[in-house]
């Protein structure tokens, strides 16, 4: 048993899951926005990065980790809501290229602003749990308290989102406003508010993700901290289906695991290539994504 837990394959699996839940969170954040407003938020990672700076750089570094995280989440949600109201609202009903250009532009603006204010040098966040792997019979298990913290946080966040959407009155309205905005208005749903709230939730999830990424000792916080993670999360969302939260979860974790094995057995330089290959193949086989419920609707 202990030989199994410390074996190379299990180490890859555990490491992959730990990376994968981060991709899942990024993908979930993209899905939340795509479902409600049909916009691909390319600035998602950058918005989350700004929220993390607000939580951890503006407050003195000595401040309690959890207070900083709470501040980051609130800052992320406010930024998300404001982005929907100010930038995104002007993009509804415009040609599809407009939101793409606008959000990529916003990404660049945010990264430049962050670099101007906080510089581009990496800043270490306090790490709330040890990143040293647990040992079993003096061999490492490829699972540290910090990794477990990442996984548990991801599971909690996803469960909260799932319960909110499936079992609450607010979730019913959020879903209805996304699927059928005009009908929802006829039933009294304040659709504008729901869209703003969708962006706030997405950005809240994004902020938590960025805090997890940046509190990893090896990454730290820089204006481009989220770029790599965002790319993988984006690919995961596209593979899983942009309108499917379950797809985001499954394909994020699956991608983390596959890429971990690729990095270990092949070459770490092959990781991005394989990720893009997975994207191309899945888009060829199922353009709407593996878990997308999107289909021709009957009238």
């Amino acid at each position: 048993m202990s030989a199994l837990l410390t074996s190379r394959n299990v180490a890859d699996l555990l490491g992959g899951v730990t990376n994968g839940v981060i991709y899942s969170l990024v993908a979930l954040s993209l899905v939340l926005v795509w479902r409600s407003t049909r916009i691909l938020n390319f600035a998602q990672g950058a918005m989350a990065m700004i929220a993390t700076y607000i939580g951890f750089a503006i407050l003195a570094p000595s401040t309690n980790y959890w207070i900083s995280m709470a501040v980051a989440i609130v800052a992320g949600m406010v930024l998300g809501g404001a982005t929907e109201r100010v930038i995104v609202r002007a993009l509804y009903g415009k040609p599809e290229i407009n939101p793409v250009v606008a959000m990529v532009g916003f990404l660049l603006v945010l990264e430049s602003v962050a670099a101007a204010i906080w510089s581009t040098s990496s800043r270490g966040l306090p790490t709330p749990f040890s990143m040293v792997d647990w040992q079993l019979n003096h061999k490492p298990v490829a699972m540290s308290p910090f990794a477990l913290y990442e996984i548990i946080t991801a599971v909690v966040v996803m469960s909260i989102i799932a319960v909110l959407f499936e079992y609450t009155k607010l979730g019913l309205q959020l879903r209805a406003a996304a699927i059928a905005p005009e009908v929802s208005r006829l039933l009294g749903v304040r659709v504008g508010r729901m869209l703003t709230l969708g962006w706030m939730l997405s950005s809240g999830v994004g902020a938590i993700t960025a805090v997890l990424v940046a509190s990893n000792y090896f990454t730290g916080l820089t204006p481009t901290t989220m770029d790599g993670v965002f790319a993988f999360g984006f690919i995961a969302a596209a593979i899983g289906g942009l309108d499917s939260p379950v797809g985001a979860l499954v394909s994020g974790v699956a991608m983390g695991v596959v890429l971990q094995f690729v990095g270990d057995y092949l070459n770490s330089n092959a990781i991005i290539l394989v990720a893009l290959g997975m994207l191309v193949v899945s888009l060829m086989l199922r353009p709407n994504g593996l878990f997308s419920a999107e289909r021709q609707r009957r009238v």
């Binding site: 019913l172 699927i179 009908v183 006829l186 039933l187 009294g188 749903v189 609707r297 009957r298």
Partner: protein, 235 residues
Amino acid sequence: MIRVDGVSVAYGAVQALRDVSLEAATGAITAVLGANGAGKTTLLRTISGLATPRSGTVSMDEVVLTGKRTEDIVRVGVGHVPEGRGVIAEFTVEENLRLGAMIAPGPLGEALAQQYEWFPVLGERRKQAAATLSGGERQMLAMARALIAGPSVLLLDEPSLGLAPLVTAQLMHTVADLCSTTGLTVILVEQNARSALRIAERAVVLYLGRVVADDEAAVVARDDQLRQYYLGMVE
């Protein structure tokens, strides 16, 4: 009572309604008839705030509705079952109803029970996705979803569209029943003039955005000229 006063609506260069005035009496069914493109749907959309008039006003019992948001007009008591029913196919029957009940004052359980009593088939299928319902069942769901909010006015846009004649007859019977038992005010837009005239007290005929007739339903039903030229009812 719903009063439409001198309403004109245009979509770009297309004039959909021209100086339309009419009244829908409380507790009665007012049919709005006319061919495709006569402006019937636009009239309902204007009442519920989905379309904005260039001129004119819509009011309900002295409350001016024009200028209010759709979400607020619904809260004043106007229920609108849109063209094509607008059932959310991805939702279950009960989720559709829960969404409609969101602005209802009373407890959800009672509101649901009331609708299942009026439309028993919805109760039997409450856990099913709305996508699995037949056309008639979907129309019932759309009506129940509007009624569960407890409106005093119900706008129905072509409820008979795509339904078999027998199903249409049942549906019209249900509408008439609801109206007489609950005192609901109904504005019934129909291309199927025959079945609408059977249950309506009053009928307004639209032609290219104008009111060409506004009279008791029985009178409209007997008017050969109206029947022939505007309602396409050729014997």
